[in-house]
Structure formats: C-alpha cells, structure tokens
C-alpha cells in the first residue's frame, strides 16, 4: 500500500479515536450507556487516537 493511502487510513482511524473520546459522554448524558462503559470507550479512544496519530507522523 502506498504511503499516502496508509496516511489517509491512519487519519481516519485517528478521527475515530477522537469520536470515541467525545461521543460516549453524549450517550451517557442521554442515558444510552452507563458511566463505566463511557470511561472504557474514552480510554479506547485515547489509545486509538495516539496510536494512529503517531503513526501518521512517522511515515
């Protein structure tokens, strides 16, 4: 896979990480999930964001 395409994929994954950081709080606020699930999703979002974002830069 070309470096440019991989970069785009990494950016998409990174933004999914950001989504996992912010969306769970709205779900918690609206009663869709509980606090523990919200915190877990935010932690996953953090790992995804940093892993993908650092990979983008490294290419």
């Amino acid at each position: 896979m070309k470096s440019g395409s991989l970069n785009i994929i990494m950016w998409i994954i990174a933004f999914i990480g950001l989504g996992l950081t912010i969306i769970p709080s709205f779900l918690l606020f609206s009663g869709g999930i509980d606090s523990s699930a919200c915190k877990t999703l935010m932690a996953v979002g953090m790992v995804v964001w940093f892993a993908a974002r650092i990979s983008v830069k490294n290419q």
């Binding site: 709205f26 918690l28 953090m46 940093f50 650092i54 830069k57």
Partner: protein, 465 residues
C-alpha cells in the same frame, strides 16, 4: 543519543539576531494551531476550578471570559504583532538593542525563575494524577507546604523524568504536545458533559439554572476571596500578559506574514481559556457537590472520577507537556546569561529548581495570583519596547538606544522597570488594589516613566559625549 541531538540542534536556524527572511515566514494557519495547542494546557485544569473556589457567579464568568479574552486577543493583534512583524527579531535581541546586554541578562534571570515556578506548578498537577494508584493523600486549598513524604517522592520522580526529557528530547515532546492537544480539549469537554447529570442537568434546558445554583454559585469556598466579573475580565486579559503586552510572543509572531496573525490567538483564548476553563470548572463543581465542599484540590482525581483512566492521563499529559517546554525555555534563558555552560547542565539545574518548587502545593493553590504576578513583573519591559518603537521617534528620541550608544545597561529602561513595580506595590499596599488589577495602571506608569527617563537619560548622555 546526546551527540545526535546536539547535531540536530546545530542544524536549526532560528534567525535570533537577524530578521526572519520572507521564505521562512508562515501563514496565519500555523499560528492558529499553535495558539490553540499552547493554551489548552495543564494550567487549565487548575484555573477553571479556582474560579469556582473563588465564588465567581455564572453570568460573571460567561461575560468576563468573553470580554477578557477579547482584550487579550486585541493586545496580541495591536500591541505585540505589529512590532513583531516590523522588526522580525526575538524579544531578547530587541531588548538587547534597547536595554543593553546587562539589563537583558537580569530580565532573562527573572524570566527563567518565573518559568521554573510555572513548570513546578505543572509537575505538581501531574503528581495529583500519578498519585491516584498509590492512594496519595491529596493537598487541599489551604496547603502551602508538602503534605506527605509520598507527595515529595512522586514530585521528585516526575521532576527528574521531565528534566531528563527536556535535556534530551525537546523536539519529541513538542511533537507529542501537538498531537495531544486536540485530544486534550475533547477530554475536557467530554468529561464535563459526562458528569452534568450528577449535578442535575438532564437536558440542555436544565443547564443554566444548575450552573447558577450548583456550579458557579457566586459563593466562595471557606478561606477564599470573592471574585467578581472584573476579576474574571482582568485575569483573562492579563494571565498571558508576559506574552502579549510583555512582548514575549514577538519571538513567535516575527514569523507571521502579516500582523493580522495576532488575531489567531483567539483560537487559544476561546478554546483553552474559555471552553476548557468552563469544563474544568464543571468537573470541580461536581467534585465539590459530591464531597460536600471538601477543601481537597487535586485535578488528577477530579478528572479520573469524570473520565476514568483517560481523564487521569489527560491531567498527567497536560501537566507534563506544559512543564517540559517551560523547563527548556528557562534553560535557554539561563544559558544566555552563562553562554559557556553546556545546555544540558543548565537544564539540569533549572529542572532541579523546578522540582524543588513543585514540592510546594502553594504554587497550584495560588496559581491565579502567581500567573498575575508573572505577567506584572515582565510587563514594564513590554511597555518600554512599545514606547521605544512607537513614541520615541515622535519625541525626537533615539530608538534602540543601547545598540546606538554601545551601552550595556540602559538606566532609563532599568529604572522604568523597577519604579513601575514599586508603584504597583504601593498601589496594592495603600489603595488595596488586588494583583489582578495592577497591570493596567502599571502599563501607563511604565510608559510615562520611560518617556520621561528616556528623555533625561538621552539628553545627559549626549551632553556627556
């Protein structure tokens, strides 16, 4: 590793003493990202909660932050940026031209000391997050001295790690900080939204009522002074006084193609100093509500409660990414005084001073006052540069007098600095003006003093010659 780092540093050209050439100038977009990142930092986890502790009312905060941040943006755009793009040299070189090398050295020393204290407060903030798994007893708003042996151990370990990284890998930290910035602001927002139901906000329409009754109640915590809308306006305006009115950001904005890049500071003000302050205030208010107004003040556990591991790591990262470049900058300021010492040795000493300072929770508990003092102390030199640039030619006085006359200590500038600070102290002591309000009259005092002293000094010098 050290050799590789040194080699890389040697290849960096920063145009410290020559104007930045056109090809190296940057668009406003670069400054937008930089300001947004720089002003979403560890300090935001402390300032928002301290507003709550000082009993700021909801409407006062909303209005105060709009006005204060706007004044800060205008200060960047109309005071700092025009001189920065006209001169295109660093603050330190501009000061050498006006004030002479010896006075600049004193300024650098004071600046470095302030940087150490600022970095120290951020290490303490990180320590509140690192201490969670160790059940560390957290400091309270009334604590000034180290609260336990474990606190000191954690602070020293974080301080040592931060110092070693500042010695070896500043570029990597800077890169990591840029990567972390968008995530950090989302953690602020996300954590605040997540805890809103716990104070009774179950829909958007509930927010304002709860904000007034349970978040920004207008009632200060026990032992804290009451903050009004004026405190919020002046704090928001002057918390970065050293950067805009004090002209420190000349060193950054000299890369801008146009002075209008100064307006990009709005990104930092309205993301970091608005949204993040509101969000961290909400987090702290929930903690107070749940703990029935406990005086414990620790951003780490508060963020952990709201956002779990991500929240605690956000506090740690925010504190660390603020402390690290601050130690590095302090090292550079000291190195300009001791140019023959190796950078890493100086950074090590600066890191040790910072770590010692971080052991004292007073730096966190009194962060609002410290930030105001930091800006106030450096402000008179910003006024000197402004007057020298804009008014001296109109009064037939020589600009950049130290460079022109070859002096190493411009007494007009030096006396302006000292006398302004004495006047500010007198205003505080005899008129009862709080530190947050001294910057504005202080600037005009510095401006008038520098015109009068400059006129006298230059006439005396010319007569002597």
């Amino acid at each position: 590793m050290l050799g590789k780092f040194k080699k890389r540093l040697n290849t960096v050209v920063e145009f410290e003493q020559v104007p930045v050439p056109e090809k190296n100038q940057k668009s406003w977009w670069s400054f937008l990202g930089m300001y947004a990142g720089e002003h979403t930092a560890g300090t935001e986890f402390v300032i928002g909660p301290l507003f709550v502790a000082h009993g700021v009312a909801a409407m006062d905060l909303i209005i105060g932050l709009v006005v204060g941040n706007l004044l800060a943006v205008l200060s960047w755009a109309f005071i700092c940026a025009p001189i920065a793009v006209k001169e295109r040299i660093t603050l330190y070189y501009k000061m050498q031209k006006i004030c002479g090398s010896r006075l600049t050295t004193i300024y650098n020393l004071v600046n470095a000391l302030m940087f150490c204290f600022l970095a120290g407060s951020m290490i303490a903030v990180s320590a509140t997050a690192v201490g969670i798994p160790f059940n560390l007893p957290m400091p309270t708003l009334e604590d000034w001295l180290p609260t336990s042996f474990m606190w000191v151990v954690i602070v020293v370990v974080i301080g040592m790690i931060t110092t070693v990284i500042a010695m070896l890998g500043y570029n990597q930290v800077s890169r990591f900080a840029n990567i972390a910035a968008p995530w950090m602001i989302l953690i602020f927002i996300s954590a605040a939204i997540a805890v809103l139901p716990e104070v009774g906000v179950n829909s958007a329409s509930d927010f304002w009522g709860v904000a007034q009754e349970r978040i920004w109640t207008g009632i200060p915590l026990e032992g804290q002074s009451k903050f009004t809308v004026w405190h919020v306006i002046f704090f928001a305006w002057f918390c970065n006084m050293a950067m805009h009115i004090g002209m420190a950001d000349m060193s950054i904005l000299r890369y801008a193609r146009s002075w209008k890049a100064g307006f990009t500071s709005a990104a930092g003000m309205y993301v970091g100093h608005y949204i993040a302050w509101l969000a961290s205030g909400i987090l702290y208010a929930v903690f107070l509500y749940k703990s029935q107004n406990s005086l414990e003040f620790a951003p780490g556990p508060v963020a952990f409660y709201a956002a779990g591991v991500a929240g605690a790591i956000c506090v740690m990262v925010a504190g660390w990414t603020t402390a690290n470049p601050t130690i590095y900058r302090a090292g550079l300021a000291v190195q300009s005084i001791l140019p023959h010492f190796k950078t890493w040795k100086i950074t090590f000493i600066v890191g040790a001073v910072t770590t010692l300072a971080a052991c004292f929770p007073a730096l966190v508990m009194k962060l609002l006052e410290f930030v105001a003092l930091y800006g106030l102390i450096l402000m008179p030199m910003g006024a000197v540069i402004f007057i020298d640039f804009h008014l001296f030619p109109k009064f037939n006085l020589k600009e950049d007098y130290a460079k022109l006359s070859g002096i190493r200590f411009n007494w007009a500038a030096g006396l302006t600095w000292v006398l302004t600070l004495i006047c500010c102290w007198l205003m505080s002591k005899f008129l009862g003006l709080e530190i947050f309000f001294l910057g504005l009259p202080g600037w005009f005092i510095a401006a008038i003093l520098y015109v009068l002293l400059g006129k006298y000094y230059q006439s005396q010098k010319i007569a002597t010659v």
